[in-house]
Amino acid sequence: MEQDINTIAPGDPVVNIAKNKCYHCGEACAQDTITADEHAFCCEGCYHVYDLLKVTELCDYYAIDDSAGISPDKSFYAGKFDYLDLPDVNTKILEFTDGNLSQVNWYIPKMHCSSCIWLLEQLYKFNPAVRSSVVNFPEKKVRITFEAEKVKLSELATLISSIGYEPYMSLNDIAGEQVKKWNRKRLYKVGIAGFCFGNVMMLSFPEYFHLGKDAFDESLRNTFGWLNLALSIPVLLYCASDFFKSAWAALKGKYLNIDAPIVIALVSIFSLSLYQIITGTGPGYFDSLTGAVFFMLTGRFFQDKTYAGISFDRDYRSYFPVAVSVLTGKAEIRTPVTDLKTSDIILIRNAELIPADSVLLSPEALIDYSFVSGEAEPVRRKKGDTIYAGGKQTGPAIELEIVRKVSQSYLTQLWNNESFSKQKEDQNQMLAARINRYFSVIVLIIASLTFAAWYFIYKNPETAFRAFTTCLLVACPCGLLFSSTFTNGNLMALFGKNQCYPKNADAIERLSKIDTVVFDKTGTITRPDDAEVVFIGSKLTDHERAMVKTLATQSSHPLSRLVVKSLAQVHSGTQALSHYIEASGSGIKGLFGSHTVKLGSAVWAGAQNDREAAMDAAHDQHFSRVYVSIDDISAGYFLVKIKYRENLHKTIDRLHDHGFNTYLLSGDKPTDQEYLAYIFGNNAHLYFKQKPEDKLAFIAALQEKMHQNVLMVGDGLNDAGALQQSNVGVAVSDDINNFTPSCDMIIDGKQLSRLPAFINLARHGQKIIKASFAISLIYNIGGLFFAIGGQLSPVLAAILMPVSLISIVGFTTIASNVAANRILKN
């Protein structure tokens, strides 16, 4: 492989082909990259994919979207997917098999554009054993049908990985707890309710217009009545079944929820209509019944909108690898993580996650705990040290002996905390439900009083029944239900457009009540994989810089990567690197011809003596330094400083202006304290070295002792407990399809500065719901006035209902769009 890069010998005429842009992935690339067929490639991986596509004549890929490719994962190694061929795993991953043809439905997080769809659907060209592959883009999944005898599952996974689309498989897939997101039942229900509503409306027309009273009309009217009854039965029994179920569940729990008055209204309207049809006393109100169910289902359909491809509910199993390499003797066997036993010896490669608490057998390891503890810098561990699950090895592969099973590890203990079994969604607490409780009681009282007055005082049973029904119909709490479902549904869509994805409507309502905002530090308010890198020292020549870059490229250490990034403009040297050595925790070293170049700690590079270095480190803790020496002469150092997200200061300021309390909970050591104190105000609430359970306890204390509604903003596993405990847990992610901890809302990193605006918009949403409730109240009072007087004919009731519904839906939609435009504009 090395030869490929080195084919560009010094002095090779590097033509002016789309310089600085990789033909495959579009990444900026330096001059010395691979060139082939007059295209430039930033790395070997990209060239490889191109070559593969060329051989299979799939270069159309590049015609669809420019440079849309993905560089294959560099940490991929042969045998990574071998575990897929284990019979146990195999049966769980396969969606279907008949011995000959098999089918898998794989999640491909890297799928992002139309080229991806095209390429993934051409898999059969790479391997004829693939019968078909069909992409579902919103869910980022590809369903592959293949001949099981001709291609192994592991080969299939390797093939997809080799073109850059590594399938993602987690322990959850193995545990077989896949949740089917898209529920077709809801669609059936909407369809059937719509069908019945339309037909009942049509059959009710003669009734609306008081057709003639001759014998034929009478029999026609009779037939229509029975037909309407027949059409309403599936609506009541099937389409409205969810309302009954939810009301019944609430009743069993001894409280009334929002569905209870709806169910009362539906049942009473249906039984009155049934009575009228059977006795021949009237046409019934089936049109209103079916219409109400249809509109309510449509509203809920929009409200229950789920973002396919984004997952809100993840537990530790989503983060763990499915299998690791277990060493038995000298053989390396891929074993599912769930089958790991204590005293098994496992091999962990660079950037692999450690699945269980274990003891280090290799001399040294550099563990990156950032995901678990928030600690930004990797820690060095020596032989015999205990390494906790969730850490990632950075550097060469290490051997570990398992001490505790996966399910008993330190990290998984967090998930046993009670806050993970608690449901945040309490229907009863929602605004609509709270108003509704009084509303439905009042309506019932008015209807009963009207009925009593007509029946007992005026001795007019017929009017009494009609007045009672029309009262319930006109003042049906549906208007209220609509106003909240449509407002929240519309707000969810508006949030989504701005790269902020609430899990459900309830999350928006809870967001509107927030008074305290707690931030995590690493990865949340700092930018991951980005930092300010400055070189301090004697000026390096171009040649020297090229050597430093080439050397740093060899290492996967985060600091090395940042140094490489800062040298993006430098053309890597053409001189070959030899005798490369990486000493974990110290630095790297390499030979360029006769020159020795060292990068790393002060001691490693021989820059200063120990005492001076220690003093320097104590002086500015929030800087990391990478020292450079060439031929053992110190040349200076790279100063690496963490970068905060843009507008962080403004965001916090705005939160303070609106009267929010802010806190910072960091798992990191107290770095940058002065700057953060300045940003978070004078009485800064800054807490450092917080363990995941400390964070959870802190949030719980805020809620219980200070009675605050807490919004937690976090990003990693270490925040999972706090996110779960908080009233609204917001996960920050720079790529929303990445893996975020379980939360209520996912926000794109770039949009974090708009957090105050999002909270503001949620508050406006509550105001809109209240306003539209007032509008429906006006309709209700007007309608009730006539209904009590027994003057409201079914025609008027039938017209009034849709008109009020449409005007409420229109009002909420327009009002929330206007509010969003105004609030989110700046």
């Binding site: 159309d60 139309s114 992409v135 579902n136 069908f195």
Partner: protein, 59 residues
């Protein structure tokens, strides 16, 4: 006037047929993915051996 009854039954029958078609399409998964097919239809079927000759750009 019994024509009325026939018409009513016929119209209900047609409406039912459409409802059946709707249910069938949901069951077949037509509504599971409402985005990918709209992209897929824009791809050229290029079965010729010379992929290089393809110059059409789809954006």
């Amino acid at each position: 006037m019994s024509a009325m009854f026939v018409m009513i039954i016929a119209s209900l029958g047609i409406a039912l047929a459409f409802l059946g078609a709707f249910i069938w399409s949901v069951r077949k998964g037509h509504y599971d993915d409402d985005y990918t097919p709209s992209v897929r239809i824009l791809f050229d079927d290029n079965n010729s051996d010379t992929a290089k000759t393809n110059t059409t750009d789809i954006h």
